[in-house]
Symmetry: C2
Subunit: 522 residues, 2 copies
Amino acid sequence: MQKILFNGNWVDAQANGSFQAENPATTELLPEHYPISSWGDIDRALAAADTAFEHLLEMPRERIAAFLEDYAERIEARSAEICQLANQETALPVEPRLASVELPRTTNQLRQAAAACRDQGWSLPTIDRQINVRSYHSAIGPIAVLGPNNFPLAYNGICGGDFASAIAAGNPVIAKAHPLHPGTSRLLAEEVLAALRHADLPAATVQMLYAIDYSDGERMIRDHRLAGVGFTGSRQAGLKIKAAADWAGKPVYLEMSSINPVFILPAALQERGDDICEELKTSCLMAAGQFCTSPGLIGIVESDLAERFVSQLKEKFNAAPVGTLLAKSGQLGLAAAIDKLQSLGAEVVCGGTSGGGNGYSYANTLMQVSGDQFLDQPDDLQTEAFGNATLVVRLDSAEQGVDVARLLEGNLTGSIYSSNVGADDAAYAPLAKVLRQKVGRLLNDKMPTGVAVAAAMNHGGPFPATGHPGFTAVGFPGSLRRFSMLQCFDNVREERLPEILRDPNPTGIVRMIDNQWTTESV
Amino acid sequence: MQKILFNGNWVDAQANGSFQAENPATTELLPEHYPISSWGDIDRALAAADTAFEHLLEMPRERIAAFLEDYAERIEARSAEICQLANQETALPVEPRLASVELPRTTNQLRQAAAACRDQGWSLPTIDRQINVRSYHSAIGPIAVLGPNNFPLAYNGICGGDFASAIAAGNPVIAKAHPLHPGTSRLLAEEVLAALRHADLPAATVQMLYAIDYSDGERMIRDHRLAGVGFTGSRQAGLKIKAAADWAGKPVYLEMSSINPVFILPAALQERGDDICEELKTSCLMAAGQFCTSPGLIGIVESDLAERFVSQLKEKFNAAPVGTLLAKSGQLGLAAAIDKLQSLGAEVVCGGTSGGGNGYSYANTLMQVSGDQFLDQPDDLQTEAFGNATLVVRLDSAEQGVDVARLLEGNLTGSIYSSNVGADDAAYAPLAKVLRQKVGRLLNDKMPTGVAVAAAMNHGGPFPATGHPGFTAVGFPGSLRRFSMLQCFDNVREERLPEILRDPNPTGIVRMIDNQWTTESV
């Protein structure tokens, strides 16, 4: 049985049970056994994290930043082994996906987080001189990070975006590995431990468990020693976590379900329908559609061209290889969602059957409904079919597209393709106005998959895409503020203030002084 | 029966019942009858607000800013009448409290909100040039603002801080007047309506109801047409509102209970105990202690000087006039809290009986427990006694003060008095470190009452003081971000972008471009 990472050491779990990962491409069990931790493991991890936090508050930021950078280097040095095991556990290809896309994204995130930690501009330092009140955002305490199944590296609780932003903001992390890729998480945790020791950070700055029961997870989230939660995964699990955190009044950042509507306006279809069709196919089927930003609802205005577009898309879906899904549960979930959509009247244009690829798989599936059908059952027809499936809504008119948009739940993204020469502008404006309020990221002439790690990115959106529409899970420095509290100092003596709020500004950081952003000293 | 403000007109309520306000100083009913609105009123207000929001999205910011300023002027022009009625409904004195402190604070807030609306820097515009991704914070939709009993002007749902920040961020407001000062709210709403008409803003930009049943309130908060909630009031009511908003995944900002611990370190007591005692008395008894930042827990290390301090405080409490409380419910609530603290072993040093002032009142009450007693029942002994009462915790040592701080719930404020010549520094550091994480605002040598409206202010803190530790309810421009969503534009054509995110920067606002704050154009 593998050990858990507790307070700077690999120790035997106080296990309730155990599990093995599976190779989804072969459906064979992988050899290692991993523990399902009991409350005892969580309890001791919380106690250690609580103590680590008090010590972390005294650490120079530079040491935390250097730790993140060293960790990134160590991940790179072990890339081949990590990607190979991740491939075995997830069936995601080593090249290009794991080794050339996701791993560099992961280490890039760690380095951007390090830069944000060092710079500290994320904390929005604010000073009012006349009344001598000063404030900034600062660390909040131990954060539980629960990563998803579909990004074994870039969103992994032990090294992904939530991890990086929680640590860079000065908080300890208790990571829960996703049980579909425990071995990958273990290799990463070995490197985290080496980096922690090298940086001489508190031993429990990062700890890791492999699995916990729901009731213990709820107890962990409610525990007073835990300050906040970052979660990426299904809506079902996310809502349970949210309920526990809300009960305890804790910040919780959830990245849950999203069907990422894509509207293709008539003149764009006429101008470049073939190109859009190819883009759409690629976006829908990459990684077997297992992206939170995969386009799950396509709005297109009825016409001969629309008919042709759907036929083309059907051909492309049929011709494309069927990818392997991450797990049996993924295959069953996708099948159940497609069955539900069919039972609601969605017509299966192609696909609709399990299998067809290596291991766990489901045929590339295209469905369609009319705009009237959608408007008749708007909530149920927004059921997310996570995987290589999408639903076309064949609209009577562009105006009906606005009606559809008005009934959408909160989504991470919304895309509109429109004519390059202005022929869709009259239709664009009312649609964009409604869609804008429903999504975190509005795109023009672009599919939603592909989430750049950049300051202006918003990987977020209104509920139920996330739990709070004001925050992004991707992009530095903004994502750090999720794991912070606003700390105000009223008449506090200067030598007792955090350095960034003292009168001198030796590093030339931008601060708001008397309502003006400035790099001056007080 | 008074009418409600619905969609630009005063209309008859679809009432479930009615109520009258009371003059708490005389316990006499005031003549006007106000409606308790049924769901029908809420439903039509939500529909109107929903439509108003779509129009507000097209309004120039300047018009919203001018509306807020015009409203401030109108409130000033009607100050005498407003303050007189507020005095009748709350027993707060016209001078200096209402006319010279709270009303100017209110109009100052409206003007600061107008400036923040005009400047738009609150929206944190961020641009990444290479990938052409741009984002900012923007309006979210209709906001319900529920004000408290203790600030009929500065926190009133129809004109207070939450109102001002929600409107300045571009959202319609449905205000629920507090039923203890409906007439004051009505006069203010008359001015809001005049200002709305003058500015030619959508009629339902601001609407007002007087009272609703809890179940209808819950339904309102869950309704998809409402985007968020601002609430100031009791923990009991706040938790219900939070539960409804959390269920629906909506941003909710609550300012609830706080006992605002004040620690007086030994050398400070020796240096200036008499001065501190006078400050403490004033802070505890002003407005009969009915401030959210009133000091409710005083930590002091046992000594002869501490004994003398408590005796002095007792004398001052006994000598001070007994203020009138806001309502019978306030008197009953204060009595119940004091009874509970007594039943837990708190010794009543003075006070402890109802009456003693005009109308609804309760004797100025000083209680004490030992540090050991506190540590034995830390949760129950943090029961908030909202009003002119405070609990002294007589600590064995400064170290025991740290233990007490460690067990505190989240609070709005925490104060530490320490020696001016460094004699308390060894005790200060560990206490401040622990207290810092428990409170939104840490003070040195200062009582917590008095919340300046300034950019660096934090009127917030960890749960249960509020519902989210990352936001302030007071201070511009930061408070606007509460009522916003993060909106990202990915590859959106420049002419379709909001002005603030386009390449040129004609107003010279500070934007983050490629990770650097700058006033340059792209």
